[in-house]
Amino acid sequence: MAKIKLATIWLCGCSGCHMSFLDLDEWLLELAEKVDVVYSPVASDVKEYPEDVDVCLVEGGVANEENLELIRIARERTKFLISFGDCAVTANVPALRNMLGGAEPVLKRCYLELGDANPQLPNFPGIVPELLDRVRPVHELVHVDLFMPGCPPPADRIQATIEPLLRGEKPVMEGREMIKFG
């Protein structure tokens, strides 16, 4: 049987979900026998999101133009997309800036009002992605097949979610062990 093509992507999050993924420890070796990691910030050095991905774990909310582009490509090229962690599911901590009313007041506060020697707004088109006005959870922008909340989801919840998928079954997300936020 061909190996399952697994991708993980990292949008606006702290990488805690990816760290939690690495906390799977020895089980990663078992996982590696069943999947090919075709794209991941922590497990591959591929720059371009590939075609025909089976499962993708998405960490982080959608906060800038680059996040938006990547999540659209990932959705297009992936069969089963999982919102991985609270930032992807609720927009979480990155969304604290949403209450301040758009990208502009946030940038001004950070880079001008609190700027020390040389206050200026970051502006490198094509290099520094533009902030969107709001950080948004992934499912507000593209269809999501499964939600795995948690900040971060602990390793055993990640394992309990992925294991049934490897057998072609959909995991049952019920009870405090599987769906707790925070």
Binding site: S83, D86, V89, T90, A91, N92, V93, A95, L96, N98, M99, L100, G101, R134, R136, P137, H139, E140, V144, F147, M148, P149, C151, M173, E174, G175, R176, I179, K180, F181, G182
Partner: protein, 238 residues
């Protein structure tokens, strides 16, 4: 006092006239999820989590403020109810700014518990991200409007148990909010006895003790019930 007989999820119940469906369900061993209900104070039907179906009545009614009547046939866990309960919790999450990861009661929160109970793994409604204040003018406690679900447990506890009536609800619709005194900073309200009953009554991290950090704070959920039993039945232990 006359007794009413009814069925709840097929279980026969006989209970005194004037009892609520929530009490009757408890008697029958049927669990109905609640949020604004607090043992020891009056019910107001604010959260709509305890909605039930009653045969012959065309709308859903909150179990906590609906009185039993003779021959009632009540259903507490139909698919419609499960769907609406989940929607209620989703709306509570998307209406305010509930960021569990940075909340003092993360892991000890009754809104989180409700989400888990109704099987909510995300909310289908767009988040509002309202701009709301935090009041830390009180010496010992704080009020974070971002996490308030307007269950009014604090209002009822302060009025009915402590007798100080520090809290009220002001505004309408999305502008509704809890106020202290005459919409003053909490720390300036002379009527406040700093008893902390409101803090323990609060189901979320909205009312908190100063100095508590993320996921550190546990609330004494049984305090009000204990006080009421102590006063009414003179039982002083728990």
């Amino acid at each position: 006092m006359s007794v009413k007989t009814l069925t709840i999820d097929g279980v026969d119940v006989a209970i005194e006239e004037g009892a609520t469906l929530l009490t009757a369900a408890k008697e029958a061993g049927v669990h109905i999820p609640t949020l604004c209900h607090l043992e020891g104070v009056t019910d107001v039907g604010a959260c709509r989590l305890c909605l039930v179906e009653i045969e012959g009545i065309n709308k859903l009614l909150p179990a906590c403020v609906t009185e039993v009547s003779e021959g009632m046939k009540v259903h507490t866990n139909t698919e419609t109810l499960q769907e609406y309960r989940r929607m209620v919790v989703e709306m509570l999450f998307s209406e305010g700014n509930h960021i569990c990861a940075v909340c003092v009661v993360n892991g000890n929160c009754q809104l989180q518990d409700a989400a888990i109970e109704v099987g909510m793994d995300h909310t289908r409604f767009p988040y509002r991200f309202p701009q709301r204040d935090v009041d830390v003018s009180h010496d010992r406690f704080g009020l974070d409007h971002n996490r308030c679900i307007l269950c009014t447990r604090c209002v009822r506890v302060c009025d009915e148990i402590e007798g100080a009536h520090v809290w009220d609800v002001a505004g309408r619709g999305p502008a509704s909010r809890i106020i202290s005194g005459l919409a003053q900073p909490w720390g300036e309200v002379e009527a406040c006895t700093s008893c902390g009953k409101c803090v323990d009554a609060c189901p979320t991290g909205s009312l908190f003790r100063k100095g508590s950090t993320v996921a550190e704070m546990e609330k004494d959920r049984g305090k009000v019930e204990f006080l009421v039993t102590a006063r009414e039945e003179h039982k002083w232990t728990r």
